[in-house]
């Protein structure tokens, strides 16, 4: 540019600087708003996808806020749910030491609300309720037998309920099914339901093979399903040496006797005289 040839060296425009500045400010606001409108549905759909991917738990309700206290609630909102849950698990340990079952139950309730997808919290909470708390009452000699049975039984049912809730949140987690089956087996002596739960656990991804054996063992003790159990045990026996544990052999033998299987058709080799 050659200013000498151009006597009007100053930039020509009709707009005053004030007007230009105000226009730019208006443009800034407009860009922000348009961007806000544009991203609204996009972010909404991302939020949906995040929920589908289980990356984002549902909102926290007022009850959680009251239980957590302001600071922890804020932390949980700000992306620190996992951390708050971890610290609650330390708190739960103290409550266990102090045998404060009421607080312990509510703490696990909070932990699992913060992180419903951490199966470990469900498993541990149920264990505290169905085993530790129930045993505390069942073995408490200061109480009358009736009260002991009542309270002990109530905590076993709480543990069962807790696991069921955990399974609803983590249907693919075999360990929770396994623990539920164990409660039916160990605490209720309900072999039929234990067998069903073990069987479901065995079908889930990552489940160890012993789940199938446990399902068959429990079925063997379930009134009316002996034939089914026998077939399952025989099948496992046939699959290979790895299933031929002492318990399996014993259950097979018991059933063969109980069902009066002819010697020739028995799976187990004949015992020596």
């Amino acid at each position: 540019m050659s200013p000498a040839d151009n006597p009007g060296i100053f930039r020509k425009n009709g707009m005053s600087y004030r007007l230009r500045r105000n226009l730019k400010r208006a443009a800034a606001g407009l860009v922000l708003l348009v961007f806000g409108i544009g991203r609204m549905s996009w972010e909404g759909s991302m939020e949906e996808e995040w929920k589908r991917l289980q990356l984002r738990a549902g909102g926290l309700d007022l009850g959680v806020r009251e239980q957590l206290g302001q600071m922890s609630y804020l932390a949980a909102l700000g992306g620190f749910r996992s951390l708050v849950a971890s610290f609650l698990s330390v708190k739960a340990f103290n409550e266990w030491e102090n045998v404060d079952w009421v607080k312990l139950e509510s703490t696990y309730g909070l932990m699992t609300r913060l992180q419903p997808r951490v199966a470990g919290y469900w498993e541990e909470g149920a264990w505290h309720l169905a085993y530790n708390a129930s045993a505390f009452y069942l073995l408490n000699e200061e109480m009358s037998p009736g009260v002991r049975r009542h309270l002990g039984g109530r905590y076993i049912r709480k543990g069962e309920e807790f696991l069921r809730e955990g399974i609803r949140n983590n249907p693919e987690e075999y360990l929770l099914r396994q623990r539920l089956a164990e409660i039916y087996r160990n605490k209720f002596g309900d072999h039929c339901r234990a067998a069903d739960e073990f069987a479901i656990a065995a079908r889930l991804e990552g489940a160890p093979e012993y789940c199938r054996r446990f399902a068959a063992y429990e079925m063997a003790d379930c009134e009316g399903r002996e034939w089914e159990a026998y077939a399952a045990l025989a099948g496992l026996y046939g699959e290979g040496v790895r299933h031929r544990k002492p318990t399996l052999l014993a259950k097979l033998g018991e059933l063969e006797e109980k069902l009066s299987i002819p010697e020739a058709k028995r799976v187990l080799p004949e015992k020596g005289p």
Binding site: R56, G78, L83
Partner: protein
Amino acid sequence: MSSREADRKPRVKPGGTVATRRGIGASAGRIGTLAGTTFLQLLRMKTFYFLLIFSILVVVASTFNVLHHTGEQHLKLLKDVALGAMSLFTSLFAIVATALLIPSDLEDRTLQTILAKPVPRYDYILGKLCGVILVVAVSVVVMDLIFGAVLYAREEMMVAAELAGATESGGFAEEDLAVLEERLRSQGLNWNLQNAVAAIFLKSCVICAVTMLVSTIASTSLFTIIVGFVIFFIGHLQSVARDYWMHALDAGLWKRLFSGLVALIFPDFQIFNVVDGVVAGEVIPLGAMTRMAGLTILYVMVYSMVAYLVFADREL
């Protein structure tokens, strides 16, 4: 005069000018220069001390042992503390470091000397932003390395200890031991954790951009930091406002307008909070990460543009 000649013999011609570059390349060069100086500035201000605090925290968390905690819970606690601290530190650092830049340049009149050079104001803003994002990136990488090393070490120790314990107590078949180890390893070091770290970084980029925007309006660092924190806080609740605006059709007009305005103006930081899910074992697919990165780029671009529009006619 070729540049080699200039190299050999410095000369000042009366009224002459040394060869200077122009155009896009020059712009990139300026942004690079500003970013490099900003990086150096934050480095020499010893702002990296917080990395030391982070390391101590992670190491302490890794030795923090609650009696009944299983190996899995132990590793989860370590991940919670480390990733939580990483997320918090990075966000706070992003706000504070960004807030220091423009207001201090303004106060020291350094800004006048910079803009009295042929430096367009958008180059200045982008240079500062790139510099602070570079610092954040380096911090995240360092924290990630520390965290990864500690987690890996603890994981190996836990696996060894639990397997030894199980073998000692007996009654565990090979199969059971394998299950035990696999469950422990699933809580240990894995690539999915890097997705959480990447999300922490992306969130900080948005924080830097929005804080930069605030600092173009503000005249002090303190004001910028306070407003930055308020935005940080509201950004975590933005999705609530968006839900309200989109779905609570029967609510009062003013309430809806207010929530709509919040949803339009504030960024949604919850999108980036995937740490909880990742620690719980949820896998983030590549597509989701890509969308998150895309959203981040959009945020940074739009906030930079708005920052420029505000800053373009600011009186210095």
